[in-house]
């Protein structure tokens, strides 16, 4: 069976034009997908059944047993952390937030180690953005700043920017200039019309220099700024100011480098200043599939996009304190539920060590680094393959994924709802 217009569940692009061929409970062919999509759909490396650590070994257990034991762990905890959420769909995330509310837990999503600082910057200065189709149809200048779309969002350039024709830009390849700013050469920098190589940690200064130029203060600019020549800075600023529609996309190269959210703030303020001359937008390259959806769901229920602490009954948010890495660093949480992410692989080692010390339960289809740190893992259907629900694209466009077949696994929502019911009954 061939299914058309399938939504890819890998990165924040949410490409929705895949054609997927299914035989029974297996995907046998994918058209239109990138390498990441092909691996996602074709790879079939799932954990077969719930497992529990028994001393220095592992044993298979039933779903009911796994869920009940998880509930007991969470009920017994003083300060549980519910982490992850980006790989699953909104309806499951919503139950997760209510579960955290019920438990007085901290709930956090993967933005915490991704675009969390972008959110902090947006909370300071706002966010002039747009949907990706605005860029596709209008942009004559596109800037990728500290992002490497060819490796991280392989179809971003062909669907929305560099290689994508639009209504007002009939031949993107000829009419659209691409600027890449990065600390190193990448596949993406090789297709740029202008590659700006910045010293590591130098983004803030380069952004400030561009802001000064846009404000008409060219005479303030020294011969080089963090490895970038004055001439190149002028050239880039002129390209931006003479654009009819410019779009900046930035990656975690800005959020993770020195300066963190202040880098993003500076980039947003550059965008704002460019809007006094022409039209400019800025957008974070959200990486992990439905991470933006987790921000949306968290926000409409709690008021905050991530790092929400219910310990005092109300929703409390203070990045740097209620963020997962900080909570784990302080050894503060005494149980952790990981859903649809892999902190074992993606958090600093000391955080992984704390996850191993406390009862950690993981709900995830695959064996990953966190598996080895957990007490229990509950495999679930893969969202976008054998589970369906809502996901938000990196620009906020919500799309419903398609279920390609009914497999043998419950989905995240099934498991979380069962967990919620048990805990609600116990807590009253």
């Amino acid at each position: 069976m061939k299914v058309e217009d399938v939504v890819c569940p890998f990165c924040g692009c949410l490409c929705d034009d895949l054609v997927v061929e299914v035989e029974g409970t297996r995907v046998v062919n994918v058209e239109n997908g990138c390498t990441l999509a092909n691996e996602k759909f074709m790879g079939d490396h799932r954990l077969k059944a719930p497992i529990r650590r028994a001393g220095n070994a592992w044993e298979e257990i039933s779903y009911d047993e796994a869920i009940e034991e998880t509930a007991a762990i969470l009920l017994d905890a003083d300060r549980p952390l519910l982490y992850g959420w980006s790989g699953t769909f909104g309806e499951a995330q919503s139950v997760g937030v209510h579960l955290a509310e019920l438990l007085g837990a901290v709930i956090d999503n993967t933005s915490t180690v991704c675009h969390g600082p972008s959110i902090m910057a947006i909370q300071e200065v706002g966010h002039p953005g747009c949907t990706l189709g605005q860029v596709k149809n209008r942009a004559d200048v596109v800037v990728y700043w500290a992002a490497n779309p060819i490796e991280a969002h392989p179809r971003h350039m062909s669907r929305y920017t560099t290689f994508c024709d639009g209504f007002f830009v009939k031949s993107a390849f000829r009419e659209r200039k691409v600027i890449v700013v990065d600390v190193r050469e990448t596949e993406s920098s090789q297709v740029a019309d202008e590659f700006v190589k910045v010293n590591p940690g130098g983004d803030y200064a380069v952004l400030s220099a561009l802001r000064a130029i846009v404000r008409g203060k060219r005479d303030l600019i020294p011969a080089t700024v963090e490895g970038v020549s004055r001439e190149q800075l002028f050239r880039v600023a002129d390209l931006c100011m003479s654009a009819k529609f410019g779009a900046i996309f930035f990656g975690v190269g800005l959020t993770m480098a020195q300066g963190k959210y202040k880098n993003i703030r500076n980039a947003i303020e550059l965008t704002e200043e460019l809007n006094r001359h022409t039209k400019f937008t800025i957008s974070p390259m959200r990486g992990h599939w439905n991470v933006y959806g987790s921000n949306e769901v968290f926000t409409w229920i709690t008021g905050y996009p991530y790092a929400v602490d219910f310990a005092r009954g109300i929703a409390f948010y203070n990045p740097g304190e209620t963020t997962s890495v900080d909570i784990l660093r302080r050894g503060e949480c005494d149980a952790c539920l990981v859903v649809a992410s892999d902190p074992g692989a993606h958090f600093p080692r000391a955080c992984a060590e704390h996850l191993a010390r406390i009862p950690t339960v993981q709900i995830d289809p695959h064996v990953n680094a966190t598996t080895h740190l957990s007490r229990i893992q509950i495999p679930v259907a893969v969202t976008g393959i054998d589970a369906e629900g809502t996901a938000y694209r990196m620009d906020g466009v919500p799309i419903r994924t398609r279920r390609l077949f009914y497999g043998n696994y419950p989905d995240d929502l099934d498991v979380l709802e069962k967990l919620y019911r048990i805990i609600r009954e116990a807590r009253g």
Partner: protein, 566 residues
């Protein structure tokens, strides 16, 4: 579910012609009935003011830009937070509360139906997700068409029928309720950082004018027999001297519908400014209300501002950027491909700002100078003018000249030279307030047909019982009691169930989403139109098959079907 018998209620039910009568109201199976079934719960209303459930015909509560208002404003989230309690979830937020915050606060004020003021079709799924998490009100969504490329192309070709066909397809796809035009043409121009400055200013690259878009859409709306009229946010919002644009817009409104208005103008306060700069801005409420008084085919809502902190949010992207250039606080913008835009900035309306004082006066003047309360509805364009929790204060201001005089002493003393407010003696009465907060909304939205906005047998049992005793309260003097009384109901009943009591929500709630489907002949079914399909796949970034909102997002959807005359 057993019935409810409300005894000795002081009922005002304008649609049923009840202007203040002590009577009983019987409820069974979610409806108002002649006689309550045996075993019904008895509520002794003891002469308390009892009205149909409140209806807000223009509020921003759910969807992409509302949620972004929360997302970017932890300071606002901290400013209003409550813990989980009983059936109530945690809430956060003052001007942009979380969905449960909105729902509980509206419910405890007696509101049972809300129209979300602006939904971009491409992001409709988001609005519907938040509707589901706003459990105590039935929800409707204004659907944005102001910068819709297919509409502008139809306008270029002077093809009203094609415009109607596009509306029918988009409304059904987005599960929207009505046509919303926000700064028509201006949101497309903003795609290039530009705006339109009058109803005759052409839209860049499309060549059509706002006037042409508005006129075409008013006629398309009637061709589809939609329950509501075109819902219009005029061009030039917030610009000194913009009253002329508003008058020009009113001129465009034909009288095409016997049941209701043909054009609904929203948050008109923001569109009633004289002068030419922020220095000489003045009220033009008299000109605007004169025009509206002469045209029964036009209905407006106030868009009252109230002093204090709030968040502005609108699909009107260029306006928000202009506002940002004044405030320099923080600015968000979100343009939506082929459809519309949006912007958000936080603001503070101060009693010491002459401009803000003029704005505050204008809203009240609109309500006081419009002769027929069915033509001027109470709103703050929440949260743009103020969060909806300020409604009781606005009601008190409209009912008490004394309160207005008290306020006069607190605001910028120059205000009176720029506004007629303090010369107006009119004080609205309970009946007029009942019209302006529920009955007129039901009529304007065209939802009396599904039992909204009145209390006669057969109506939906949405009832608000306030602790106010109209026989004992003189609103002109006892304005504090009016404010307190409208701030929390004794009982809010939604579809025959007590949902809130004395300021607390008592059940989990399950709402409906009301949407419109116009049945069109195949020749006007855009899903079968090859040109429409081709352009969709070429220029949108989602596939056409992934665009329509699936039924699963409306667990209790109420579809209003109409027969189009195409």
């Amino acid at each position: 579910m057993a019935g409810i018998l409300i005894k000795n209620a002081f009922v005002i039910d304008p649609i049923s012609g009840i202007k203040g009568e002590v009577m009983d109201i019987a409820i069974n199976k979610g409806k108002i009935v002649e006689e309550a079934p045996p075993g019904s719960e008895i509520i002794d209303a003891a002469g308390c003011l009892t009205l149909p459930g409140g209806i807000d015909s223009h509020s921003h509560v759910c969807g992409t830009k509302v949620n972004f208002g929360r997302y970017m404003s932890p300071e606002d989230m901290r400013a209003g937070r409550t813990a989980r309690k009983g059936v109530m979830h945690v809430t956060s937020g003052y001007s942009v509360p979380t969905t449960f915050g909105n729902s509980y606060r509206y419910s405890t004020m007696g509101y049972t139906t809300i129209l979300e003021g602006a939904m971009a079709p491409l992001e409709a799924r988001h609005t519907h997700e938040e509707f589901t998490a706003t459990p105590h009100q039935d929800m409707l969504a204004n659907t944005l068409f102001d910068g819709n490329w297919s509409i502008m192309e139809a306008v270029q070709e002077k093809d009203t029928r094609r415009a109607a066909a596009v509306v029918a397809w988009v409304l059904a796809a987005a599960k929207g309720f009505a046509i919303k035009l926000t700064n028509p043409g201006g949101t497309e121009a903003w795609g290039w950082g530009e705006d339109v400055h009058s109803v005759h200013d052409p839209v860049p690259k499309f060549g059509v004018t706002p006037a042409e878009i508005i006129s075409t859409m008013i006629r398309a709306n009637e061709l589809l027999n939609l329950p509501h009229s075109v819902h219009l946010h005029c061009n030039n919002l917030g610009v000194p001297g913009n009253y002329q644009t508003t008058l020009d817009t009113i001129e465009l409104a034909p009288d095409l519908n016997r049941e209701r208005q043909s054009l609904y103008l929203t948050h008109v306060q923001f569109h009633s400014y004289g002068g030419s700069t922020w220095r000489d801005i003045c009220s033009k409420s008299e000109d605007i209300t004169r025009a509206v008084n002469n045209r029964p085919q036009v209905v407006m809502d106030m868009g009252q501002i109230m002093f204090g902190r709030t968040t502005t949010m609108t699909a009107d992207g260029p306006m928000e950027f202009k506002l940002y250039m004044l405030h320099h606080n923080k600015w968000s913008n979100h343009d939506v491909e082929l459809e519309t835009g949006s912007g958000i900035i936080p603001v503070y309306y101060g009693r010491k700002s002459l401009v803000n004082c003029v704005m505050w006066s204008i809203g009240l003047e609109l309500a006081l100078l419009t002769r027929n309360p069915w033509q001027c509805l109470l709103s703050t364009d929440s949260p743009n003018g103020a969060p909806f929790v300020k409604y009781p204060e606005i009601i008190a201001l409209l009912m008490s000249r004394r309160l207005r005089e008290n306020e006069r002493r607190m605001i910028d003393p120059r205000t009176e030279h720029f506004v007629p407010l303090f010369a107006i003696e009119r004080e609205l009465d309970w009946y007029e307030i009942a019209v302006m907060t529920r009955a007129a909304q039901a009529k304007a939205l065209g939802i009396t047909r599904i039992g909204k906005g009145y209390l006669a047998p057969g109506a939906e049992a949405d009832v608000a019982i306030f602790s106010i005793r109209p026989d004992q309260v003189d609103p002109s003097v006892d304005y504090q009691q009016v404010m307190a009384g409208f701030s929390r109901t004794r009982y809010t009943i939604k579809r025959g169930r007590i949902v809130a009591r004395d300021g607390e929500v008592v059940v989990e709630g399950a709402n409906s989403t009301i949407w419109t489907k116009a049945i069109v002949p195949d020749a006007y079914d855009m899903s079968l139109d090859p040109e429409f399909r081709k352009k969709f796949e070429q220029y949108y970034t989602v596939r056409m098959s992934n665009y329509p909102v699936q039924d699963v997002y409306l667990p209790r959807g109420v579809r209003i079907e109409t027969e189009a005359q195409l």
